[in-house]
Point group: C2
Chain length 925, copies 2
């Protein structure tokens, strides 16, 4: 007969830790600990395969099971030195579910099984504790009644029927808490519970422990198909056929008296990662008491206890009397615990979160699992474990969740500070900010000039606000999502941002915000937590986390392992400098249009827009040329030795002109033209769907003089630096290309200007001309486009917008519903839609490299900093990803993880593409 | 040696009509006529292959060419009975270019070659006409000087140097026209021309005819590479390697005296297609005189002459004296011409456009080619030629250009009427309209109710204007392109529309239009020509063309041949009725939203939009349900026996609420809510890019009650009709699907309502549930979507918008530049972009049918009525195309042509797709 029952305990087990599929997570873990010789209460696991048989067999078991269970239980009895159902020395057991993956709280559990009117007396005698005995018994009846006998409330409005009886008992006894009830009370309750069951279900409560046991096993297998579990499986894509295992295990008690205790511990400090045993325990208590907060838990180690006392202003005398450590109270059990935790950590090669119970001075381990930890701890533990030769570098890389690094790169609020959260928006850009409220970008600039710290609060931001955003501590908007203008720009700046906080009623006119009955006025202090979306009244002190040495080591390892480059999106020398510090290997996207908003430039830009002929346009552009050249000079210099991808102008021209009457009047005055002319121009630039309008290379093709000016600025700057001995690799990127002809026309202009300028300076300069792939058609005809493009860069923001037909600005109206109804598994603007958008990317890659095997391909959309998307880019053969400066470390780690997981997938792909990468390639026009 | 020179003349030729590639169009035509025994002036053609040799050989000829040319010229001399360079009986020749395809006016020609001071005397003696002789000579010198000796004006501002001398001569002789100059004058001019050449070029004008001949041949070959020709080739995608041939042919003259004549004729009436010889001629004239309009040309036949005279009020006496027919003046030549035209028509099996010259009573044919004709003539000729057994039905089908049929389906302006064109817009929807100007849709409705004819003039139209558009004679807009709202809706209605007439300054406030200095006021009469885009002042009478019997016959043949169905886009029973008359086999797109604008309905719609919870929304929808059910009842009934595809609501809700303050106030009053509430709702519905916003199935998923109401209306109507014995095939189409989950959710609602309703009525009803493929992602994941969709319908308007990233509404800002700069070969909103959008369509088809081989696929975008797009749809395996009612006949013909051209391509594709078409298929949910 097939083996369905696996025993464990007494230093050995029939199962192993890697048998989760048939023993479930819990059963496998207990087997593994048993095999390690760790003291685990004995028991056995009925495998998940039996679950399948049970359901296939119309909820019946094969006859052989009974024998196997009896044998296994007998084995447990021998180990524990007690007998199931023995009135003088009863063995009590727990019956628990355990699926391949954890489904917390979804299935059923029965504790204290084996008690009846006879065995309870044995328990009392054995423990010499009448109250404990009757309390255990009434708990069992209550739990069994609920789980096995289906004693549920009749309707949702009713209370649990057992709790109702308990409440009545407390009332009649005139006490408030369970702890005030006596042994007699619990005995009385037990009989009342049984009577209730009889009244409701018409059956006697089972007194035969074996009948109890099979009832509980049936109930646990049955709970695999309860509604909660079905829903949970659907939501988490867990196959129904996996089934659950059932583990029957001897009960141990930490609440039998003062020689008992229970506790939880971490093998290292989960907050800092320090290699120090850390835990809490309580004497004469049950497991849940430690975390329930009714009693103050004590520290496990002396060191920990002293530290705890000092930070709570408790002197050593009081500490050692009132709150002694386990090391002091039960030194023998403590020593055993230490050797066990060390064994477990060494075995699992990771920091463990363990649960233990000491029953009559005997230590029992109930659980061990990888412990949750902060990002800082994760990094430290991973790096130190390599030093301890517990794990390899590759394993260390896999141990840290890339996005968690974000916590290490921004200032955070002092965890000790009090905070009054007044609203919650989207955590759009991490960090912590405190400042006075301003409502307009120029107010922010003025205040900043006076040395004040401000938080810019807007309904939504626009490119005109860039200057103000840059000088603010943080940005708060009431409209827009994770990819709104405010969010994207803030992330690019590494600045804290809470976006789309719809609760805020912002009144620009009165200069106030109304929210949850509070009124926040201009100049009031507020604080933002960009990692949680919290909006907080008043000032909150912040701390600047240091990038520890371990962080640097982990990054170095990641760099050794990863196969793709990491660049940054950055528009200023400052961005470039920050990003280099974070390890960026070049700029993947330099948006030139942000440069047009600063100071004088917006005037020249508007002059250009108002120009009625090419001549006037060229005149205005000439003024911009000087500024752009300086901009590029600064960026190239800051990124010396690395490639810099500069995108020619992209947004529609209407973004550069004001919409409000007032500002139009100012513009008219500045430009020395009539307001009607300004209005007419603004009107003529208006578009119904600007996202699909006159922008990107469409501007360059209708006004070639713009492309010409930008090319001149790029190559003037590059040539000057080359003359000065600085290494420069410009990569000029044409946006929004959909046809080969567009790129041909734009490239011709750029190439001509480049060659003219290089000749003028008499220098040698390596440069590339390429294109964004952000229009679906460009991906489709990538084979054609690659005949002109020396590189591709996926603009996955726009590519996602057009492939889905979603406007990022407007999708807020239906995207939340789509995510809620699971129409979409995740927001495609956050993680690449691999099935749709990704398919286009794969086509573009394969077709592009068919035409041009050396084609360099990157990504510069928001997705370039998202780990799942980075893994996808790695697999399909991209040369690099580019992301905002503060995401660079995340991308480095994510790329290393991708390399560890998908090295072969990538290499096969590159072989298929016959890719011949060229790092910095001379122009081959 | 390879043959480079091909003789023709004297009833035979070395070349043939099918040798266009090496003889050019002209040379091949002359060879073909010679072979037919038609009298053609003798000559020879130097092949295009020599052109290649010439350029490859650094502009030198192989030595053998001279001999071959001399032999061929000798042959010509023998046939013509004259000798090249013989002073007593000189043969004169023309030297002309001739490429594989016509490149009119791009390359050079030299006439009268062979004249010098000696041969001119021979010509004079031979013709006994001194003036003719010297005029011919000076023309030769002038032409040769220009073409061969490069006597161009020095700059663009200067006149032709020869014309300057002629002007001086006329001035000094005190005359105004060339015809007043005498033989002596021409002789004098000849010498002056030669002197000018000597002065400017330092060479004597060549007197040796052979030197002249080689000079001219060089010049013609050379002109293949002139700038004009290069540009023309580039614009028309003619390969440079094709080269030109050179044809040298004996000159014949229609202007040697009154026994000479020249003329042009059509073998059938090019205007009506009647089988009647039709032509014009002039006695003693050159070819160009007939078309120049200086002298009134005479008719070739007596019948034609009498008809002409009567319509010009000329009596028979005057006619026969002043304007006799060729049949009367030169009966012998006329008879020969008749037998030749009959021979040519029979040979070419098409109506011919011929040119002839009669020199000294001897008839010479100079050219024959297929004649241009009106659409009506094309249909009549094609059908009648099948009757005459000249051609087969298949050839008749290929003879008519589908889009030309448009002329036959709409009223047109009386061609005889005077028209004052005051502006020109885009010919957005064909037809002719005359009416009084109104500026608002409700004014149009009011005037129409009073029985007045109006033309609705708007800056642009919106869905709110539908009612007014429907009652107007025509629609004129100053903004928007061929696919603007006005254009699309007007074409759908078969109503005349001129769109995007940017010249018009429309002032709604003053109710006037200013254009080209004219002011058109409200109530003034204007007329629109929707086929030319002309805007005309005042009233112009229109004629309603009849759909002749021949038209019906041609359509019947087309239906026999075509392989795909033709459906119509139609939203009303009237549309359905019109379309059935035009041969539609069902409705491919019924837009339900237009129905929401009529009368009471817009109120209920707005109630629904203002509703703040599902309950109120359902209440408002219940009121709409009644109306929608009636709408569908009418449409199903009008299309009885054919499938009707109904699209659930598609446009964003903001299209149903007013934007102007005034109308918002009205709405608030009607809805009995505050104007602030209306404003807030309008504001909340505002989107930055509505095209990519909350519309299509996104509405149905956020408000499932809308889908439910629409499904109920559809199936209530269908079941009622089924009970009444009417055959109904509803196909419910979900728009804007991008993910399988969207369709699943929408389909579940529709399916449930369908089954409920069918059960309620106790009927049997075949219906399908399918989706638009209009989002790029839907095409990419079509294999998934086909698992839910029973049919696909390509929404190529949106698919084009998103694949290109072009907003139709805004593309006017760059699309004209793109077409001009040839970034795009044609407007992708008019003809499917086969390389990009078409690629997505192919993927969707192939993947969709892989999942579901019986998948029905159609197209309902504007492209469904465009012949190139129809051919594409035919090739890739679509089951049907759907277009506006007035395009149905065009689509039927285009589909037949596609079947004739691409039958195998389609069948191979369908085999690859394993397609199993099912005409009307029961639900298989």
């Amino acid at each position: 007969m097939k083996k369905f029952v696996y025993s464990f305990g007494g230093g050995k087990a029939e199962g192993r830790g890697d048998m989760k599929e048939i023993l479930g997570g819990k059963g496998a873990g207990l087997a593994e600990m048993s095999n390690l010789g760790v003291p685990v209460p004995a028991g056995f696991t009925i495998s998940t395969e039996m679950c399948e048989v049970y359901y296939k067999n119309n909820k019946n078991y094969p006859p052989e099971l009974d024998k196997a269970v009896r044998e296994a239980l007998g084995n447990g009895e021998n180990i524990m030195g007690a007998k199931f159902g023995d009135p003088s020395n009863p063995l009590l057991v727990s019956v628990r579910s355990g699926a391949r993956v954890s489904m917390p709280g979804m299935m059923d559990t029965v504790l204290n099984l084996g008690l009846n009117d006879q065995t309870v007396e044995g328990l009392i005698k054995k423990t010499n504790n009448e109250r404990f005995g009757w309390d255990s018994y009434r708990r069992f009846v209550q739990m069994y009644g609920d789980v096995v006998l289906d004693m549920k409330p009749e309707s949702k409005d009713e209370h649990d029927p057992f709790e109702v009886i308990i409440d009545e008992a407390k009332k009649s006894r005139g006490v408030k808490s369970d702890s005030e009830l006596t042994a007699a009370d619990f005995k009385d309750l037990t009989y009342k519970f049984k009577k209730l069951i009889k009244d409701k279900k018409g059956i006697e409560f089972p007194t035969d422990p074996w009948q109890q046991l099979w009832g509980a096993i049936n109930a646990v297998f049955g709970s695999w198909m309860n509604q909660r579990a079905i829903t949970y499986r659907k939501l988490n894509a867990i196959p129904e056929e996996w089934g659950t295992a059932v583990t029957v295990q001897a009960m141990v008690f930490g609440n039998m008296g003062n020689d008992c205790a229970t506790g939880v511990a971490f093998t290292r400090d989960p907050s800092t990662g320090e290699r120090a045993f850390y835990g809490e325990y309580l004497i004469n208590a049950q497991g849940e008491d430690v975390v329930a907060g009714i009693r103050t838990p004590q520290q496990v180690t002396i060191v920990g206890s002293k530290k705890w006392a000092s930070s709570n202003n408790i002197d050593e005398a009081a500490r050692s009397k009132q709150y002694p450590s386990l090391e002091e109270t039960m030194p023998k059990a403590y020593q055993e615990l230490v050797s066990i935790y060390q064994k477990l950590e060494k075995h699992y090669k990771d920091m463990q979160d363990i649960e233990f119970t000491i029953q009559r001075e005997k230590l029992w381990m109930l659980q061990t699992r990888s412990g949750k930890r902060t990002a800082a701890a994760a990094v430290r533990i991973a790096v130190e474990m390599v030093g301890e030769e517990l794990i390899k570098k590759e394993e260390a890389i896999m141990r840290v969740k890339p996005t968690d690094l974000d916590q290490l790169l921004h200032p955070v609020f002092d965890p000790a500070a009090k905070k009054k959260v007044v609203a919650k928006g989207l955590p759009a850009s991490p960090g912590a900010a405190t400042g006075r409220v301003v409502f307009h970008a120029d107010d922010a600039e003025a205040a900043s000039a006076r040395g004040e710290k401000v938080v810019l609060v807007r309904i939504e931001t626009s490119p005109e606000d860039i200057g103000g955003m840059n000088v603010s501590q943080g940005i708060l908007t009431s409209r827009g999502g994770m990819t709104s203008h405010a969010a994207v720009v803030a992330r690019g700046m590494g600045k804290c941002c809470v976006a789309g906080c719809g609760e805020l009623a912002i009144d620009y006119h009165k200069r106030i915000i109304n929210v949850r009955g509070e009124t926040i006025k201009e100049n009031d202090w507020i604080s933002l937590d960009g990692s949680t979306g919290d909006v907080i009244l008043g000032q909150v002190p912040t701390v600047n986390p240091e990038l520890s040495g371990n962080f640097g080591i982990l990054m170095k390892w990641a760099d050794e392992i990863r196969q793709i480059d990491i660049r940054t999106n950055g528009d200023t020398p400052k961005d470039a400098t920050v990003a280099r510090k974070f390890g960026a290997q070049g700029i993947g996207l330099c948006r030139t249009e942000h440069m047009f908003f600063e100071g004088e430039r917006i005037k020249h830009m508007r002059e250009m827009i108002l120009a009625e002929n090419t001549e006037d346009r060229v005149k205005a552009l000439d003024k911009l040329l000087k500024h752009q050249t300086e901009d590029f000079y600064g960026i190239f210099k800051a990124m010396a030795g690395y490639p810099v991808t500069i995108r020619t102008i992209d947004p529609p021209l209407h973004e550069f002109v004001p919409n409000e009457d007032e500002n139009q009047a100012i513009m008219a005055k500045e430009m020395n033209v009539s307001i009607d002319k300004v209005k007419a121009k603004v009107q003529s630039l208006h578009e119904l769907n600007p996202m699909l309008g006159h922008r990107g290379c469409r501007l360059g093709i209708t006004y070639p003089e713009i492309t010409e000016m930008q090319a001149r600025a790029i190559f003037e700057a590059a040539c000057r630096l080359t003359k000065e001995g600085v290494e420069v690799y410009p990569e000029v990127m044409v946006p929004l290309v959909g046809t080969i002809e567009e790129l041909k026309i734009e490239k011709a202009t750029i190439y001509r200007v480049a060659e003219e300028t290089i000749k003028k300076y008499g220098v040698t300069l390596k440069y590339l001309i390429g294109t964004m792939i952000e229009i679906p058609r460009a991906a489709i005809v990538a084979d054609q486009i690659a005949s002109e493009a020396q590189f591709f860069s996926f603009g996955t923001n726009d590519l996602t917008q057009m492939t889905f037909g979603y406007s990022r600005d407007d999708a807020g109206k239906f995207l939340p519903v789509y995510l809620e109804k699971k129409v979409l598994k995740c927001d495609p603007f956050q993680s690449i839609d691999q099935v749709g958008v990704g398919q286009l990317m794969e086509w573009a890659m394969d077709r592009g490299r068919k035409t041009r095997p050396e084609l360099k391909v990157g990504i510069c959309g928001e997705h370039g900093g998202e780990p799942e998307s980075i893994a996808f880019c790695h697999r399909i053969g991209l040369d690099y990803v580019s992301c905002s400066p503060y995401r660079v470390p995340i991308a480095r780690l994510a790329a290393a993880q991708a390399a560890l997981k998908y090295r072969e997938v990538r290499e096969e792909r590159l072989k298929k593409q016959a890719h011949k990468p060229v790092k910095a390639k001379p122009s081959e026009n």
